[in-house]
Amino acid sequence: MNFKLILGITSIVLFTSLLMYNFGNSIDSYVNFEQAENRGSAHVVGSWDNTQEWGFSRETMRFTFYMKDEDGNVRRVIYPKPKPNNFEQATQLVVIGEMRNDVFFANDMLMKCPSKYNDADEAEFTQAEQG
């Protein structure tokens, strides 16, 4: 009985710490472009800088634009997929990927789009792949 109790408690502790460890590793903080420079994968929040050159190139099959993060750093973002359809309307972008040599290579992109007419609380997130 005592042995089983110890075994039970040990396995619960093991399970919980493994879960915590794994969970802690698989989540991340949202960062800005400068902080993203020295890490592997990063989530950066910001908005599209529409004053600079942008667009999808059918030659390189990549979508390129400039994004301004929440602290005002502007960087070029390369997204190897077609331009998401609701891109221009997005009030906020989240790019997920890697920063290399001042260029952000996004593997994924989320867009926060305002719905028609309403105020900020009715904003909705849509995934980039959502055509």
Partner: protein, 844 residues
């Protein structure tokens, strides 16, 4: 006016639910029959007012009364009537009403069928959940807070400070903002009702568990509760399936499962409910696991409420694709989850010492141990998924500003747990029907293990599986199929009514196989150019403009019209053009793409659709959405969508030019005459821009096509070729000279080549040189052929995922009938043939 009535009836339902709660609690407390009858009538009264107010809401939607915010926000004039009806539960408020309606009907069933001593306490708990749910839509304006958000509030009440309301308080919009185009799908019409029936039924085991703790009768409650729990699970499973199928068919995520918080939120109650079913079955058969059965029944409903909290309070707002609009219900939802958790878990702890527990530990090789382990594994997996889904809340203890966990977090945990589960299902199912020692069990496992090894070897070789954990996963899946298949085989001939469990566990194995095949072995479709490019990316020999190596592979390709491309060394794929139509969605384009297998199989077409999202598009910017084509097959699906096309690009240019065009007088912004003329002698070929024109010969013109008083009428056979692509058309434009009022006129009707957006006219005839003059109007210099940008994948064995799901549904259905008929006949002398063992099960 009607809205006021709706609001009154909804409020009446709320009051009646409070009255029913008090009445049921009193009758449970006093064990009074007459009080119970009063309570039943209060329940029905609540249902009646709820039905009336729902009817009024549907009426408002059907008659397009856009002064109501809910009607304006989710419908529009052009919506088909079946979608108008489903808009009733399309929004946050209406979906709460649907949930309440379903719970009301479930309550009627409980009133009819529940035996004493459980009826009154069970109904008291049901009434309590109704009070909470109704408070979410009551819309009572108390002085310090608003209680819930009523679907009957008007735009003026919703946005009192909006300028157009201040200018005109009786403002009624001409049209609504419409239902989201993505939700216009038959799957999305039936998904919500099924999920709410499931949620309502999941309340029943919770209510029975509370009633059992209340009445201190810990044995009998599972008999009536078990069929309800099974039915709840069947509904949730069906709803999860429909949601997954919709996501796969409609969205361009490229899959049926994305570990999205909303998907997880419906999966976790299902898992905990299934864990509870396992505990209930042990309790029924062996009088053990009373504590687990109670605990899991409580937890399953708490999970339902928790998922409601996560998806509807706005906590997930930043993380999920489809969380609900935040209606400011955070406080009410938090109270709901706290009361349910504290009542359930608190009561459980309070009674903990009284709940029977087994005198001696069960052996490892027993059905109790195996089933219980299965139950715990389901619980653990459920908790891991809840943990990941709650990252906006829990993640704050780890990092600031937490992001959602990576997908790999879910996969790393669910894969090993699923493998252990698969093995336990086989041993557990064998022990469930017969006693085994380790030796006899090993004997019974020989045949299933042989079959499993053979099937795994074939799958691993055929699928070229290199990853060791995938190999184990595949082995576990096949083992669940064959091990439980042996049980099914024996039951079918002897006790076919009892095959529910065996079917479920086979379905689980099939599901595992389908999931691994379809998710890990998904491959993008690529043309040779993209394939070569990706090979060079992998080798690190592609550099971008700044000279740094490119690391991201390309996962799309382009098709030019009528130019076949070899794709994945399997098909010649040809884009053959598109049609624009206005049904079912205005302005949608349906693209025709032909697949011809190079090994000589039957060719087929896919026709993906692109359409403008009218609800979110504006004058200056069209927002396009795609409807992928999924070609379903037994061995693989082809998932195909158009991510860009020349048409879409031109439309975007046109729309943005229009919106920038200023109405300046005197400035001619209209199209200039771009027509160009060429002279061609018979048999000659003339180059014009990217095109070449060959005048082949004259052709006679038929009488009826010519104007009256024609003197000369002739056609010219002209071959027009687009030089870079080689595509060509032969046309026969007409030239005529006729007289009217004694004056001569020429008649040269234009012929249009749609694909090139080009008009051609036969403008002059030069008989002396046997030449003709052709006028070409269209983009002949920078002419671009029609093209589409394609994103496509092959997904092997998605059909197996659906098949596994169907097996699970079938298994649950069989079990529901069996446990329900036993519960109905429980007072009669029902002979339970499950309890005698299957002696000859190992004679396989």
């Amino acid at each position: 006016m009607a809205g006021t009535f709706g609001h009154i009836f909804l409020s009446a339902a709320f009051v009646a639910s409070i009255a029913a709660l008090i009445a049921y609690t009193l009758s449970a407390y006093k064990e009074s029959k007459s009080m119970e009858r009063v309570s039943d009538w209060l329940w029905r009264l609540k249902g009646a007012s709820l039905l009336i107010s729902s009817g009024i809401l549907i009426y408002l939607i059907m008659t397009h009364q856009f002064q109501y915010y809910y009607v304006w926000n989710y419908t529009s004039l052009d919506l088909e009537s079946h979608y108008l009806f489903s808009a009733f539960y399309g929004g946050q408020e209406g979906s709460f009403m649907l949930w309440i309606l379903c719970s009301f009907v479930v309550g009627l069933g409980l009133i009819r069928w529940t035996r004493p001593p459980y009826k009154a306490p069970v109904m008291a708990v049901m009434a309590l959940t109704q009070v909470f749910l109704l408070s979410m839509v009551a819309g009572w304006d108390l002085s310090w807070m608003t209680l819930g958000a009523s679907p009957f509030r008007t735009i003026a009440q919703e946005m009192p400070n909006a300028p157009f309301i201040q200018a005109n308080p009786n403002f009624v919009p001409a049209d609504g903002s419409g239902l989201n185009d993505l939700l216009k799908s038959p799957w999305m019409m039936i998904h919500p009702p099924i999920i709410f029936v499931g949620f309502s039924m999941m309340t029943v085991p919770f209510a029975f568990a509370i009633a059992s703790l209340w009445t201190k009768t810990y044995n009998e409650w599972i008999r009536p509760a078990l069929p309800w729990t099974l039915a709840a699970n069947l509904c949730l499973l069906t709803a999860i399936f429909l949601g997954g199928y919709w996501a796969y068919e409609t969205l361009s995520f490229g899959g049926y499962w994305a570990w999205d918080p909303v998907e997880n939120a419906s999966l976790v109650p299902w898992m905990i409910g299934t864990a509870g079913i396992h505990a209930m079955i042990i309790q029924r058969k062996s009088s053990r696991a009373h504590k687990a059965a109670l605990f899991l029944s409580i937890l399953a409903y708490v999970a339902v409420v928790y998922q409601t909290f996560l998806t509807r309070s706005g906590v997930l707002g930043a993380q999920s694709v489809h969380s609900f609009v935040d209606l400011g219900l955070y406080g009410q939802l938090l109270l709901f989850i706290l009361v349910m958790t504290l009542m359930g878990i608190g009561f459980y702890i309070y009674r903990y010492k009284e709940i029977p527990s087994p005198e001696k530990e069960s052996q490892i090789l027993s059905k109790e141990f195996m089933t219980f382990t299965g139950s715990m594994l389901l619980l653990i997996l459920g908790l891991v998924i809840i943990f990941g889904t709650s990252s906006p809340l829990i993640g704050q203890f780890f990092v600031d500003n937490p992001t959602p966990p990576e997908i790999s977090f879910y996969n790393q945990w669910s894969m090993p747990i699923a493998i252990i589960m698969a093995i336990f299902t086989v041993i557990g199912q064998h022990l469930f029907w017969r006693k085994y020692t380790w030796e006899t069990l090993a004997g019974a496992m020989i045949l299933p293990l042989l079959l499993t090894s053979a099937a795994s070897a074939i799958s691993i070789i055929a699928g070229d599986v290199g990853n060791i954990s995938y190999m184990i996963f595949i082995f576990a899946g096949w083992f669940a199929v064959f091990g439980n298949g042996a049980i099914l085989f024996h039951l079918l001939s002897r006790k076919p009514k009892l095959i529910g469990g065996a079917l479920n566990h086979i379905g689980f194995g099939v599901l595992l196989l389908g999931i691994i095949a379809s998710s890990v072995y998904t491959e993008p479709l690529l043309d040779q150019r993209a394939e070569n490019y990706n090979k060079r990316v992998e080798a690190g020999t592609v550099f971008d403009e700044e000279g740094f190596p490119v690391t991201q592979p390309v996962e799309m390709f382009e098709l030019q019209i009528d130019q076949p491309k070899l794709v994945n060394d399997r098909w010649m794929v040809t884009y053959e053009g598109f049609d624009v139509s206005n049904a079912p969605r205005p302005g949608q384009q349906s693209y025709r793409v032909k697949f011809e297998p190079i090994d000589g199989g039957r060719s087929f077409y896919v026709d993906p659709v692109v359409y403008p999202m009218l609800t979110t598009s504006s004058q200056a910017n069209v927002e396009w959405s795609v409807d992928p084509h999924v070609r379903t097959g037994i061995f693989e699906d082809i998932y195909f969508y158009v991510a860009g096309s020349k048409y879409v690009e031109k439309e975007n240019e046109r729309v943005s030019e229009q919106s920038q065009m200023m109405p300046v007088s005197g400035v001619q912004t209209a199209e200039q005459d771009t027509a160009q003329t060429v002279e061609i002698a018979r048999g000659e070929i003339i180059e014009a821009g990217d095109f070449s024109l060959q005048f082949i010969d004259f052709r006679p013109a038929t009488e009826e096509q010519l104007p009256e008083n024609t003197q000369v009428g002739i056609r010219a056979l002209v071959r027009v070729e687009h030089t870079p692509s080689g595509s060509a058309y032969e046309i026969e434009p007409l030239f005529a000279v006729y007289t009217e009022n004694e004056r001569s006129f020429t008649y040269s009707p234009p012929l249009t080549i749609d694909a090139w957006d080009m008009d051609l006219k036969f403008t002059r005839l030069l008989p002396e040189s046997e030449s003709i003059e052709i006028s070409i109007d269209g983009p002949i210099n920078d002419f671009e052929e029609d093209w589409v940008l394609v994103v496509a994948e092959t997904k092997p064995f998605v059909s197996v995922v659906w098949f596994g799901t169907f097996l699970l549904m079938a298994g649950f259905s069989v079990s529901i009938f069996r446990h329900w008929s036993r519960e109905k006949q429980t007072q009669n002398d029902f002979i339970d043939d499950e309890d005698d063992e299957l002696e000859d099960i190992s004679q396989a």
